[in-house]
Amino acid sequence: MRGVLLLVLACACQGPPATDAEVCRDVVRRLCNSRCPVADAKLGLTADSDCTGQLTTRSGCDSDDFRFENRANFLSCRLPLIRTGDHIDQAPSCDDVDDMFRGCPSMAKFYGGP
């Protein structure tokens, strides 16, 4: 009975899952909002680069048909970016961005870093 109650309450706090393309673009949005020097260096961006456009193009998630090879791993790597909040316009701190790249070096490659 208590388990059912917890399930009901948990469901009340979550909505439907976002598509892989939306999740991928969410990461791009957060990285570009923060524009940390570490991220720029890892991703090969310059100050006047079109951050959002380059990253979505490089990763291929500009298409709504985009699919992750492993969604679960990507979500795990994304976790540092939502420490300060899961609102889509929330800019992560540079420490959290650095944490993400140190924990998941493949994220830089995924987004077309050098």
Binding site: A10, Q14, S76, L79, H87, S106
Partner: protein, 433 residues
């Protein structure tokens, strides 16, 4: 890619809700019982037998005044209790103190739950796309949030309603009428008196205890002779034996006679005034048992007491003794009939032969019992020597162990304290060079 981060995503506060739900089950009932005394139903008497005791009656046959007979009796206490019977109401009141508040809260939460559930169909079904959590899910829609609140409120409201209704249903009072008894009074009587046998101990006035003495047919005989102190009472199986007034009086008389027998007084003048008063008291008490037989002794003692009241402390001289000037004159005035000295043939004389006779005693000072009485030992014997206080020779010092010789008259057997010996009323005493 290997996950190596823990999300800080916010979780629903389900624990708080569960705690609130659990608290609803902690309501308790107040249960009090009140007792009210009702009318008196009846009054009756109830006989009971409770523990009694031991009593005794003392008899002393005047023909054998030195023998006391104790007749022991055991008894029960027959108690009659006056009992009043009452009706008594035991009123049990049970009240749920929080029933009203619980029902109110239950109704409020349940109605709010229903309202939230109803509103969920009006609110938007569109998920909250402004949030994307760690699991890659959007935030819940307004409708889902409303249903979540509805479930939470329902979980609070329903238990509160249940608790409130249970308390409300159990609230009330029940009355039980019982009969109770109250002892309003009681009357005790001695009953079932019967002779009893068992070991009897004698408790003496000096605190010592003698015995046990066996009984036969509830009777025990006590001889005065072996008693070294006045008899104070009797103990039967570590309980004092109760004596009636007559028996108590007889016990005092018996003690008086025993004292007269136990403590010899050859010459009342040799007694201190305190000892004389005690002996007079003993003789007067003994008169209850021995009657006229003790009258002569009592008269002698009272005469001496009267003489002292008129003329002061003891100190009488033998006839003519006060005028004597020397030991030699004393020997001439009271020529010794017997000589009590080591090796003398007179040592074999009995007390009866010596009493009333003039004697010459040669020995050593052994002790001083009082200012007027000393002990002189000779051979393997001793005598008490009574010294007239005003005699001119008394001012001499007679230290312990000093060799002395005494001319005097034997009065008889005298008891001083714990010691008993023949008493010699000295006419003259001097140290032997």
């Amino acid at each position: 890619m290997t996950p190596s981060f823990e999300p800080r995503a916010r979780r629903p506060n389900a624990a708080l809700m569960l705690a609130l739900v659990s608290l609803c089950g902690c309501a308790t009932m107040e249960d009090t019982t009140r007792v009210e005394r009702g009318p008196k139903l009846r009054e009756f008497e109830r006989p009971r037998i409770v523990e009694g005791g031991v009593t005794a009656t003392i008899t002393v046959d005047p023909a054998t005044p030195s023998k006391l007979t104790l007749a022991l009796s055991g008894y029960d206490t027959c108690r009659t209790e006056r009992v009043e019977e009452f009706a008594e109401e035991h009123i049990r009141e049970r009240r749920g103190a929080g029933a009203g508040a619980s029902i109110s809260a239950g109704v409020l939460f349940t109605v709010a739950s229903a309202a939230a559930f109803g509103a969920s169909y009006v609110l938007s079904q569109e998920p909250d796309r402004s949030h994307l959590d760690g699991a890659g899910r959007y935030g819940p829609s307004e409708a889902v949030q409303a249903r979540g609140w509805s479930v939470g409120l329902l979980c609070l409201g329903v238990p509160a309603l249940a608790v409130g209704f249970v308390q409300w249903l159990r609230t009330g009072e029940s009355t039980e009428v019982v009969k109770v008894e109250q002892v309003a009074g009681q009357r005790d009587e001695v009953c079932n008196v019967r002779p009893i046998d068992g070991p009897v101990h004698l408790r003496m006035e000096d605190g010592s205890v003698l015995g046990p003495l066996p009984t036969a047919g509830g009777l025990v005989a006590v001889e005065a002779k072996p008693l070294k102190a006045p008899l104070d009472g009797f103990v039967f199986y570590e309980r004092d034996v109760a004596l009636d007034d007559g028996s108590r009086s007889l016990l005092i008389a018996f003690n008086g006679c025993a004292k007269l027998v136990r403590e010899s007084v050859a010459d009342a003048t040799a007694l201190t005034t305190g000892a004389l008063l005690k002996r007079v008291e003993a003789a007067r008490a003994c008169r209850q048992v021995r009657g006229d037989a003790v009258q002569a002794e009592l008269g002698r003692l009272e005469d001496e007491l009267g003489r002292r009241r008129e003329g002061g402390e003891a100190g009488t001289f033998l006839p003519g003794a006060k005028q004597l000037k020397s030991f030699e004159e004393a020997v001439q005035a009271y020529p010794p009939r017997f000589t009590l000295v080591d090796g003398s043939a007179d040592l074999a004389k009995g007390l009866d032969a010596l009493t009333g006779q003039s004697v010459l005693v040669r020995g050593h000072v052994q002790a001083g019992l009082s200012p007027n009485i000393g002990v002189v030992s000779y051979a393997d014997r001793e005598v008490f020597v009574f010294l007239p206080p005003d005699a001119p020779w008394v001012s001499q010092d007679f230290p312990l162990g000093a060799a002395v010789e005494v001319v005097g008259v034997v009065s008889g057997l005298q008891t001083v304290g714990e010691r008993t010996a023949p008493l010699v009323r000295a006419v003259w005493m001097r140290k032997v060079p």
